[in-house]
Amino acid sequence: MTTKLILSVAFATIAVIDSKSQDFIRIGATHDFDKKAIIQTFSLDFNRSESVKEKPGKFLKFSNDNVYLLPTSDINIGDGITSSENNILTTINAGKGYFGKVYKMPNDSSVSKVFNYAIEVNPSYNSDKNFAEKLVFGQLKWVGNFIRSKSVTLSDSDAYVKNARMFSVAVFSNIGYRFSETYKTGNNYSTIGLLFDYKQRLLDSDRKEVWIFSLNFSFYRILSEVEKVKVEDNAGMIKASIDKKLIKNSYIGLGYKYGNDNPNYKYVNVLEFSVKMKY
């Protein structure tokens, strides 16, 4: 199928915690508030979910004491620099995870909860698709997440997960170097920031996702950078989306993105309506 034509890339941001990932082809129409125009978008996301990255690829290593190595990659090829991310990001997520014991509420056995966290050091590479701006950096990150699920009992031996939520928070710092072909210069690159992510899935008794809500917020302070590339001292992005199942593996979605991010810090302010096919 289509997956065979494409390099197998895996994408994961919060590798330890994220568990939901799917490949999909997204076709949509985006209203760009700044350009006051509607742009058609077509993007291919490999093993990437809208907000947090989840289970993207395969672990290279996962030891008994929860030390892991997970190479991940995210390639975003969208139409228009400002209406969607255009970047190539590859990372080796290397960390140690601490997994809590799942706790079931004493007076409501249908709810299970857990808190996990991980500390990661992630060598990374991020560039635009023309390789005009390239960032090579190491990322130190502490990420925690809280997972809660509510199940519905169908009989004494059958149940399904009706509602699953994941909330993540991370503190990170990037330290590295920027190679700017655009300005024929380079400089140390370092940032410090925060990430919040919330995702909720509502499922039906066939274990199919009916609704997917996601909210993602990242904010970071730029400590050192090539001055000409920098727009402001801070950068960040907010992304919100709602997806609803139509039939089989197709979904319609509405998403909103505002902010600026590497490698170009170009502002994005878009509302996107899309149809997604999972495969």
């Binding site: 939901k20 996962f62 030891s63 997994f99 249908s110 199940s151 149940a159 997960v161 699953a164």
Partner: protein
């Protein structure tokens, strides 16, 4: 007698309201008994009970290759053969 099947059912029961003795090991676990988000916790619980399982293989295969409780038991049984 605390068989491997019983141990696995007890692990699964933390994630679902179903009483452990009634858990069926021939059904797909993901989003039925265990929400997909709990994948790593679930693998961690399994590795705690059977430390000689390949942690990497388990996490890479959980819910994709290993779909049912019986699939997991087939991994456990294989280890048991060599566990004197």
């Amino acid at each position: 007698m605390n068989t491997n099947a019983d141990k696995l059912k007890k692990i699964i029961s933390a994630y679902t309201p179903i009483f452990y003795k009634n858990i069926k090991l021939n059904v797909e676990l993901k989003d039925r008994y265990v929400a997909a988000e709990f994948k790593f916790n679930f693998c961690n619980d399994i590795c705690d009970v059977w430390p000689s399982i390949n942690s990497k293989g388990l996490r890479n295969d959980m819910f994709t290759v290993l779909k049912t409780g019986n699939d997991i038991l087939s991994v456990v049984k294989y280890i048991k053969m060599y566990d004197y």
